[in-house]
């Protein structure tokens, strides 16, 4: 491990999680949660580091990381929109919202725009069915939305920091 990485605060968070579980192999998923929280995604360097620390084979850690859809192996854009695709949201208009976002921001589900401003994700259900259709914009839930509202709010969200 080089000096820069050892000073990395985020790495310390990862170490703390592993320590909490006595560096047991069972800590793998909890540790990946910490990596994602700290770094935003699971990068190869961290996967290798965790594999070595927990003595988990590389192929196994990759198998686990790709099995669970909560984990992402790609860096996310500056802003994220997570569209809920649960049943209640689906029957109350998700397909229309999804195509509106795709059309207006040139981004596919699971992808990030070329300018890295927006990542569009879908969630199987965020449990806000009472507010269907719902979307999570940079961590805040917006309920009972329409394609127009969503396009407007995403537009404002990604313009905010310019």
């Amino acid at each position: 491990m080089n000096d820069a990485a050892s000073k990395d605060k985020r790495r310390k968070l990862v170490d703390a999680t592993m320590r909490r579980f006595g560096h047991s192999q069972y800590a793998l998923i909890e540790t990946l949660h910490t990596v994602q929280e700290a770094y935003g995604f699971l990068d190869d360097d961290n996967l290798k580091y965790v594999a070595e620390e927990l003595r988990v084979p590389l192929s196994k850690i990759f198998g686990v990381a790709t099995f669970y859809h909560f984990f992402t192996l790609k860096p996310q854009g500056e802003h994220t929109a997570v569209l809920c695709t649960g049943t209640a949201c689906y029957i109350r208009g998700v397909p229309g919202i999804l195509s509106a976002i795709k059309k207006n921001f040139s981004v596919d589900a699971g992808e990030t725009t070329e300018d890295n401003r927006l990542s569009l994700l879908t969630a199987r259900c965020i449990g806000s069915c009472g507010l269907a259709p719902a979307i999570v914009l940079d961590g805040e839930i917006a309920g009972q939305v329409t394609p127009e509202i969503v396009v407007d709010r995403i537009g404002r969200m990604i313009q905010n920091d310019t």
């Binding site: 190869d44 290798k48 192929s59 990759f62 198998g63």
Partner: protein, 239 residues
């Protein structure tokens, strides 16, 4: 194993058989010359229960159970070849053939393939589910072996032999559902793997042409089936 293992008697296909209480239905059937088809099962590796070919009917249970992972019970009445099971086995095999590109005539293991011989065994004459024809890559970066995802049936024999027998755990499986793929290390080309010992066990336990030796052409890739039983026996003798 302790010496006080209990003996159970059960019926398989109308034959009375005796078994140790820790044995599976499949093991007992094989000891008694009763053939149950299998794909993911391989003696010497931990059971997986994924291929579903070894399903059997047990009197009193509406569910079909995998004989490779179901242990015997006193008085059990097992049927391994009812019309219902035979029909399901054929359908299952058809699903395998429809999933990826199993074209025997251009495969190195043509004539030696377990999927192929299984089709004969369960009397599968054609595939009536739509072929999915995925375009999957072939990893030919390893200097000695080739991994062709198009012929893989995801039985994980290679993964298990690499972990359990060789101890390298170079291979595993990524993603899930229809997207599962065999991977090496962090999903990098096999030739770049730092953990692969190049032992080749994975190639020889692979039931199909998904793992073959480099340079083998159509119908040339027979697998050394005696390799794993030999290793298992030698390791047991060492203990």
């Amino acid at each position: 194993m302790s010496s006080s293992v209990k003996i159970k008697t059960l019926t398989i296909d109308e034959r009375q058989v005796g078994a140790r209480e820790d044995q599976t239905i499949l093991e007992v059937a094989r000891e008694n010359g009763i053939r149950i088809p299998t794909l993911c099962y391989l003696k010497g590796l931990s059971p997986y229960g994924g291929c579903r070919m070894c399903i059997v009917e047990i009197a009193g249970s509406p569910k079909l159970l995998p004989s490779c992972m179901t242990t015997v019970e006193e008085g059990m009445v097992v049927s391994t070849q009812t019309e219902r099971i035979k029909k399901y086995r054929r359908s299952l095999l058809e699903l395998y053939f429809s999933e990826r590109n199993h074209v025997c005539s251009v495969c190195a293991t043509n004539g030696y393939c377990e999927l192929q011989s299984m089709a004969q065994e369960v009397e599968m004459t054609h595939v009536h589910f739509p072929y999915m024809y995925p375009h999957l890559e072939v990893d030919a970066t390893h200097e000695r072996f080739v991994l062709d995802h198009n012929r893989c049936i995801s039985c994980t024999r290679c993964v298990r032999v690499c972990e359990e027998v060789e101890g390298a755990h170079t291979l595993d499986i990524k993603d899930r559902g229809i997207d599962v793929r065999i991977i090496t290390d962090l999903d990098q080309p096999w030739g770049e793997s730092e953990t692969c010992t190049q032992c080749g066990k994975c190639v020889h336990v692979c039931p199909t042409g998904a793992l073959i030796e480099r340079g083998k052409s159509v119908g040339e890739m027979s697998k050394r089936k005696q390799l794993l039983p030999y290793l298992t026996k030698m390791r047991e003798a060492q203990k």
